[in-house]
Symmetry: C2
Subunit: 204 residues, 2 copies
């Protein structure tokens, strides 16, 4: 007679064998390979860090990545220092002038966004780059610092095989429409609400 | 007489000055520094990559991070190779045996989860580590491969100042309750639904 443990193990095995068949069929049904337009948006934490995690994954295969930061500028970040370890496998442009409520100067904000976009445009046509991260581009689009049609059209017409990640809250519907993968980071619970300050290694 | 451009710039400046006052007050109100228990959950992409982006940020400050992978095992990932560049600043334990529908062996899954937790427990008490990533721990908890109370209690009682990130879908309510920061990655749009396969540098 079989023990209860053996019966449980057998039931589990049968269930998982069925599940594997479903999974295998799903995987077999996915055959397209393409450069993805990825958007990380929403109010929660993880938009930029997920983009950098992806960059790291790509670097692990010996590929090159490009990063343009549209808002971050003045302050020091841990990620920038860490990516420096990869030498010329990372092309990094910190082009922001800080938050728009810090500059309080719309002309300066627009000029910074345009300069950042010029760097982005260079990376988009650089054949040595496999992934481009456009960090906080959504902020520049939200405040109309850049022309939405121009940006979306450039991203849609990126060269074949190129992956692009756009981050920032309030992604524009036209960008979401053009994207292959859109993740909304939802803040279920946030430590800022409990009075915790921005900390080294966590927020910057 | 002022031009329309000048009027717009002045309005913008006034609005942003107000906004800065609000932001400054908010920042001033946040004074707590603490090691955070962070949970990245939900069906969307970015749970693990955001954890690794955070690890990278921490490494950028010369701190050490520990990673335990509860599910990933058999297959090669770019992130593991990339983190190797940081030498002993990263302690990496790939302890998984693959998806539960691949092993089809509940005893083996439980043994793997227990072995992974033993490594996690070591990292939690290692004073040289600033951040511990418990990748896909939620999967082990969901299938009851580990005792939920034991895990949540160990995470709640982690040493002061230690940051921990737990990833994986279907985070248990008790873990969410114990956490300081919970992000739900929502899949607004996913390329798998459009027949795109898992690609190097993107999914692994």
């Amino acid at each position: 007679m079989k023990t209860i443990d053996e019966q449980t193990a057998e039931k589990h095995k049968a269930k998982m064998a069925k599940r594997k068949a479903v999974q295998d069929a799903e995987v077999a049904g996915k055959t397209v390979e393409k450069g993805l337009l990825i958007v990380n948006t929403g109010p929660g934490k993880g938009k930029t860090t997920a983009a950098f995690g992806l960059a790291l994954r790509m670097i692990g295969y010996g590929r090159r990545v490009g990063v343009v930061q549209f808002v971050k500028g003045a302050w020091h970040t841990g990620e920038k220092d860490a990516f420096a370890a990869f030498g010329d496998r990372v092309v990094w442009h910190t082009m922001g002038e800080g938050f728009t409520w810090e500059t309080q100067d719309i002309k300066r904000d627009v000029a910074a966004a345009e300069a950042a976009w010029a760097k982005a445009a260079e990376l988009l046509v650089d054949p040595s780059i496999s992934l481009v991260v456009l960090d906080e581009l959504n902020i520049a689009l939200r405040y109309d610092y850049l022309d939405l049609d121009m940006v979306v059209s450039a991203l849609k017409n990126r060269r074949e095989g190129l992956h692009v990640v756009v981050t920032g809250r309030n992604a524009k519907p036209a960008l979401i429409e053009a994207a292959d993968l859109v993740t909304e980071m939802g803040a279920v619970k946030h430590h800022f609400s409990a009075g915790v300050k921005a900390q080294q290694g966590i927020e910057f």
